[in-house]
């Protein structure tokens, strides 16, 4: 991804917004769907036995017991004979799906993940397989200011058609390789401070103009939001306290610093905790923040005080402190980091309540991304993103039977060559046939 690409993206972005709806309409023609299942987990209320979800125009129209929801004749109905329907999962942050996670330079706030996303990467196929309906792709942790992310649906031929929302969340970090911490702090402060000074200078000039006009008895010029060139827009938003930042915290010190910084500038902070960030729970609780956790859900580490090995599960630590958190996964050879619902089950094994573990994959990330009115639970008016599972979400044997994004089935296990190899049809133990037409 080149810098010039990043610069030109501003225009592309605006265009994309205009075109997105039209493009979508073309891509997802069948947006009316009804899904019936023995159990529907709405995640906003109690589970519904023999429930039905009716989607119209890509949005949820009704959720309720099958007996009470009438499905129009024209609407296709999928019946899951055995299993559970729940909201499609939301991946709060990933640097996968792009050609590379970070720029080489330290300060690249103008970079846009949108420019690096490659829709044909197997990552997105994997996202559908494991049940993600929405993915937040954001630059990685090897930049002080890494650029802004993009929320996409893991489906579609182009970035345009994949885009769900543009919350323009900036990636921040203090662990740029080859840079000391003092230098990193300095670089970050300088970037933000320079921008703050530029803005305050502009503000001052505007103020003087206003004073002058008032003194002259003229009508003061209207205050306008100085539209900065594209490459400065992202940073200016943060400095003005209007933006949001994902701060990669590799230690508690980073978290403390991030909280202080966000308070100073007023931007919204979402800490992305690495596993070396210990004792974060009380701080987060006090600051009222939700955190994004690393894909390694439980691990052993040496207790720095006693020198003994200890078992840690950050999710359980945050749960005990009452801090909301989002679980994440990583697509790679390590199977233990790959499946979101396994992450949830592992969290449950470590003491997290099943509700909180599922929320960490749905409602919490939706809220973190500011998309709680569209994603995360099955309620009227929200996006019709459904995950059809072959069993209980926390059961090790449950697989994604189908994934529905905005009323369209984008994944079907029966047509997934990889899983067909693992579970040859005659050996299938789960009732994959349920999703009949």
């Amino acid at each position: 991804m080149s810098i010039s690409g990043g610069l030109s993206m501003g225009t592309v972005r605006i265009l994309s917004l205009i075109l997105a709806q039209a493009a979508l309409a073309a891509l997802l023609p069948a947006q009316d769907l009804a899904v019936r299942a023995p159990k529907v987990l709405t995640l906003s209320g109690p589970p519904i036995r023999d429930g039905l979800v009716l989607i119209q125009n890509g949005k949820i129209l009704r959720v309720g017991p099958a007996s009470k929801v009438k499905v129009p004749m024209t609407v296709k109905e999928i019946v899951l004979r055995k299993g559970v329907v729940m909201p499609a999962l939301v991946l709060a942050a990933t640097s996968q799906g792009m050609d590379r996670p970070n720029e080489n330079m330290a300060v690249t706030p103008f970079v846009e993940a949108a420019d690096g996303i490659d829709p044909v990467q197997p990552f997105f196929e994997e996202c559908r397989r494991v049940g993600y309906g929405t993915v937040h792709v954001i630059p990685g942790s090897n930049c002080i200011l890494g650029g802004v992310g993009l929320v996409v649906r893991p489906f579609g031929p182009s970035i345009l058609s994949m885009t769900v929302a543009e919350p323009r969340i900036q990636a921040m970090s203090l662990s740029k390789s080859g840079m000391g911490r003092i230098q990193a702090v300095f670089t970050l402060e300088k970037a933000l401070g320079d921008m703050a000074r530029e803005l305050s200078l502009k503000a001052r000039e505007a103020r003087e103009k206003k004073e002058e006009a008032l003194a002259k008895g003229e009508e003061p010029p209207e205050e306008k939001d100085s539209l900065l060139p594209g490459e400065k827009r992202n940073l200016a938003a943060l400095v003005k306290g209007k933006g949001k930042a994902f701060f990669y915290c590799s230690s508690k010190d980073d978290l403390v610093y991030a909280i202080r910084l966000s308070r100073r500038y007023g931007f919204e902070l979402v800490p992305v905790l690495s596993n070396s960030c210990r004792d974060a729970a009380p701080l987060l609780k006090k600051a009222g923040l939700a955190a994004v956790l690393s894909p390694r859900i439980e691990f052993e580490e040496t207790d720095p005080d006693t020198g003994e090995k200890i078992h840690r599960c950050p999710a359980a630590e945050l749960f005990r402190a009452g801090v909301p958190f989002a679980l994440t996964t990583e697509y790679g050879s390590d199977l233990s980091k790959r499946f979101p619902l396994w992450q949830a089950a592992a969290a449950v094994r470590n003491g997290v309540s099943p509700e909180a573990a599922l929320a960490a994959l749905t409602t919490v990330p939706a809220r973190i991304l500011g998309l709680e009115d569209r994603l995360g639970s099955l309620e009227k008016g929200k996006d019709g993103n459904l995950l059809l599972l072959s069993g209980d979400p926390l059961d090790a044997l449950s697989w994604t039977e189908k994934l529905v994004i905005e009323g369209k089935v984008v994944y079907d296990k029966a047509k997934d060559p990889l899983l067909q190899k693992i579970f040859p049809p005659e050996k299938r133990k789960t009732s994959g046939k349920g999703g009949g037409k």
């Binding site: 003092i182 305050s200 103020r207 008895g217 209207e222 909280i259």
Partner: protein, 489 residues
């Protein structure tokens, strides 16, 4: 601390030169990420502590002694103090009080990456401080260290800026001074490059001359800015004088567009331009009758250079300047530099010195600072190495300070002081080397390093000789607060 002027106007630090704020006292609960505020002890009533004996750290010993502590500071100290109204009394007459030790040359609180990479004056050391583990903090307190000057490694020539931090039993650094010193270094190239000290001296001289220019320009820019503000006010006043006839019209216009104008004044002034709105066709100020005064021209904005600010602070004698100079030639050049720019110089590890420079150093009020005595000295143990160099400086009236240089954990500071005594330093001098003189070499002499009125109440209480490193303090007071029993080991 905020380096560059903060974007959201208003807060006290917003005027650009204020980033100098070397004397800005930073707050304790940095770790908690909570609101800033200096360390306030819980008890409001002053506390009078009676002890059997008190080593003040200045060379004086009081026996018995009473220390009055309030608001985290020492209010008074003397043999017998009158009991102020409402004060609580704590009788520790079985114990000996001593000031908390200061490690003037420590790498504690630095991230591992910062302990390796050399830094320049621009890096904000205090923002880069990281917490240490509570067990490490307790370890240091057990050794009596309560404050340290965090010293990142530097290159030859202009080195890093230093910060002073106090220990917290939880391991969270509490910065005392965000900018407590500047470090310079002569080459360590050794015999390979005998002229290196001269070359580095030249470069340093140039740097300080540049800083002097910078300082002048900055002061001028500040003056100009003030003048502009004045002129601007006059200009506005003049405009207003021309306006009275238009007043009615002027009032009408904004009322027709309710949201368009906001009351101008200090409130609006301190806020950056914000709020949505698209530019509408505004009435162009048409040519007016009467004489319009010339619009004062705003001076070009002055760009604050953090590195130059540090040097400027050194030139203003606000911070001490450490100069690492080992050979007699390096010492000579270091003294010359200090003399030319009237720096508050601290010589670091001068292993040789000419007798005339010795006198000069004493006259210039210079402090010398040494790292670990058992391993740092180049040529240690060689026949030429003079073990009595510390005593030589002491005899000449030059204060000697001792630090651990990041070679050792500051937990060995008292051991090093004992070693200095075994090497010939007087017992009092060895103790001051890790208290008062250490504070002087760290730029926090006004805040810590001795039991004196107005200083931080970082006090150790021993059941014996405070200089015996084998003796852990019985109790430790940090910022006017005793450590709870469970924190003590």
């Amino acid at each position: 601390m905020n380096w560059i002027a903060p974007g959201r106007g208003g807060p006290p630090g917003s005027s650009l030169p204020a980033l100098l704020l070397p004397l800005l006292l930073l707050s304790p609960q940095a770790g908690a990420g909570r609101k800033a505020g200096p360390p306030r002890p819980r008890r409001k009533a002053p506390l009078l502590i009676r002890v059997g004996k008190a080593y003040l750290g200045t060379g004086k010993v009081l026996e018995p002694a009473a220390i009055l502590v309030a608001r985290g500071k020492i209010l008074a100290i003397g043999k017998h103090l009158p009991l102020p109204k409402g004060a609580k009394v704590l009788d520790l007459s079985g114990l000996t009080a001593a000031p908390g030790l200061v490690d003037p040359w420590a790498a504690t609180f630095l991230a591992p990456s910062d302990r390796r990479t050399p830094h320049d004056p621009a890096g904000p050391t205090s923002s880069g401080l990281v917490r240490i583990r509570p067990s490490q903090a307790r370890d240091l307190l057990l050794a009596g260290v309560t404050a340290l000057c965090v010293t990142p490694p530097g290159k030859d020539g202009l080195g890093p800026r230093l910060a002073a931090a106090a220990l917290d039993p939880s391991g969270t650094p509490r910065p005392i001074l965000a900018l407590s010193g500047l470090s310079l270094r002569f080459s360590q190239a050794g015999p390979k490059d005998p002229l290196a000290p001269l070359r580095i001296y030249k470069a340093l001289k140039k740097a300080f001359e540049k800083a002097r220019d910078y300082k002048e320009k900055r002061d001028k820019a500040q003056k100009e800015e003030k003048e502009f503000q004045k002129k601007w006010k006059e200009y506005l006043a003049a405009l207003r004088k021309l306006r009275p006839r238009k007043k009615a019209l002027g009032k009408k216009a904004p009322s027709s567009r309710p949201k368009a104008s906001k009351p101008s004044g200090p409130k609006a002034a301190s806020r950056p331009a914000s709020g949505p709105g698209r530019k509408k066709t505004a009435t162009r100020p048409s040519a007016r009758k009467g004489k319009v005064p010339p619009r004062p021209k705003r001076p070009a904005p002055f760009r604050i250079d953090p590195a130059q600010e540090v040097l400027a602070a050194a030139l203003e004698r606000k911070i001490p300047v450490r100069i690492e100079a080992h050979t007699s030639l390096e010492v000579k050049k270091a003294l010359q530099l200090a003399w030319e720019f009237e720096l508050r110089a601290v010589l670091v590890e001068p292993w040789e010195v000419d007798p005339e420079d010795l006198d000069r150093a004493a006259r210039m009020g210079i402090t010398v600072l040494y790292g670990p005595l058992d391993r740092a000295a180049p040529g240690y143990g060689e026949p030429g190495f003079r073990q009595d160099i510390l005593a030589t400086f002491e005899k000449a009236g030059v204060p000697v300070a001792l630090g651990t240089r990041g070679f050792l954990s500051p937990r060995f500071l008292r051991d090093q002081a004992a070693l200095a005594r075994a090497m010939g330093l007087s017992p009092g001098g060895a103790f001051r080397a890790v208290t008062l003189y250490a504070a002087r070499a760290s730029g926090i002499e006004a805040l810590a390093g001795s039991l004196e009125k107005g200083k931080r109440a970082d006090i150790l209480f021993f059941a014996g000789d405070p200089a015996d490193p084998a003796l852990p303090p019985r109790r430790v007071m940090l910022g006017g607060k005793f450590l709870p029993k469970e924190v003590r080991l």
